[in-house]
């Protein structure tokens, strides 16, 4: 069981890394993109890049917020 947990922790760290929120932003943005494209027929090619930039900025802000003098 412990070995299984450590394997899971390794792969989580490998792919998701330090900030899980970034992964959530990407997954939610892809789900919304698929929804817009397939359900509403709107080609929202810009949605994922915008979410990626916002997610990166948010993550950087969180990582550096406590370091202000």
């Amino acid at each position: 069981m412990r070995r299984l947990k450590s394997i899971g922790a390794f792969w989580y760290d490998f792919v998701v890394g330090d900030d899980w929120r970034v992964a959530v932003v990407v997954v939610v943005a892809l789900a919304l993109t698929a929804l817009f494209v397939h359900a509403a027929g709107v080609n929202v090619w810009w949605l994922l890049p915008v979410c990626v930039f916002v997610g990166l900025g948010w993550s950087l802000r969180r990582a550096t917020a406590g370091r202000r003098s």
Binding site: D13, G17, V22, T33, P49, S69
Partner: protein
């Protein structure tokens, strides 16, 4: 898309990982014993080759749309992790990766460890240090090779890029017999983060059903835009006053994240 951008991206990403693996192998070989170090490296390379041999052909059998959605998402998340760390390093919020310090740390640990032989290996410490170092750094190479090769339906080109990177670093390492501390590794990690994020975003959105304006040519816009936004965040963070800069410290060989 031609094979050249694919080969170049995989090459640069793999050079970074190969340099980190080389540091660990050199520390084990020069401090302990070369035979056990090479045995550990060889076993790790066999494991990595087996992973590519099994997963490579399997992944290309999946439908392209589903593959691009899943792999694009993974690549975007993985790439953003690289990019985030690269920006934090470039702005002093995170310690710079320093191969010389990493080497000295590994050497100190290798000198302190006792010699013991196990399972036909004369120096078990050198074997495991080399095996773990090559395997962990190599897993990132395998991930990049499989995702890029699978998505482009060109596993051969991805393997060529990775093999060329490993060969260049190995030959240089043998020639200088020292960690490649003068390679601009942190700048290269920044570039790799940009490339992984751009390709992941492109393929992920395509997999979700998007039709990019200009099709593959959209990447020629997306990559510079990701680079500009990343540089913009770097400039913004550099301008912010902060409590203190991080001192450069080495990575541990256990660390798998970029």
């Amino acid at each position: 898309m031609t094979a050249l951008p694919l080969i170049l991206t995989v090459f640069v990403a793999c050079v970074v990982e190969a340099i980190e693996a080389l540091t660990i192998v050199l520390a084990a070989g020069l401090t302990r014993e070369w035979r056990s170090t090479f045995q550990g490296m060889a076993v790790a390379l066999v494991v990595l080759a087996a992973i590519v041999a099994v997963l490579g052909p399997t992944i290309t059998l999946l439908p392209l749309t589903a593959l691009r959605l899943v792999v694009g998402a993974l690549l975007a998340i993985f790439g953003l992790q690289w990019l985030r760390k690269a920006i934090l390093r470039a702005t002093g919020y995170k310690s710079l990766h320093d191969e010389a310090s990493a080497y000295l740390r590994e050497v100190a640990a290798a000198k302190a460890a006792a010699v013991s032989s196990r399972r036909g290996v004369s120096d078990w410490y050198a074997f495991t240090l080399s095996f773990k170092g090559v395997l962990l750094e190599g897993l990132e190479v395998v991930f990049i090779v499989i995702t890029f090769g699978g998505n482009q339906r060109n596993m051969g080109a991805a393997v060529i890029g990775a093999a060329a990177a490993v060969l260049v670093v190995a030959v240089t390492g043998v020639a200088v017999r020292a960690p490649l501390a003068r390679v601009p590794e942190n700048a290269m990690k920044f570039v790799v983060g940009i490339m992984l994020t751009s390709f992941g975003t492109f393929w992920g959105a395509e997999g979700a059903g998007v039709s990019w304006p200009g099709h593959d040519a959209a990447l020629l816009v997306l990559v510079p835009v990701v680079a500009l936004v990343s540089l913009g965040y770097t400039v913004l963070l550099r301008q912010r006053p902060r409590a203190g800069l991080a001192a450069p410290v080495a990575h541990s060989s256990e660390e798998v994240a970029p």
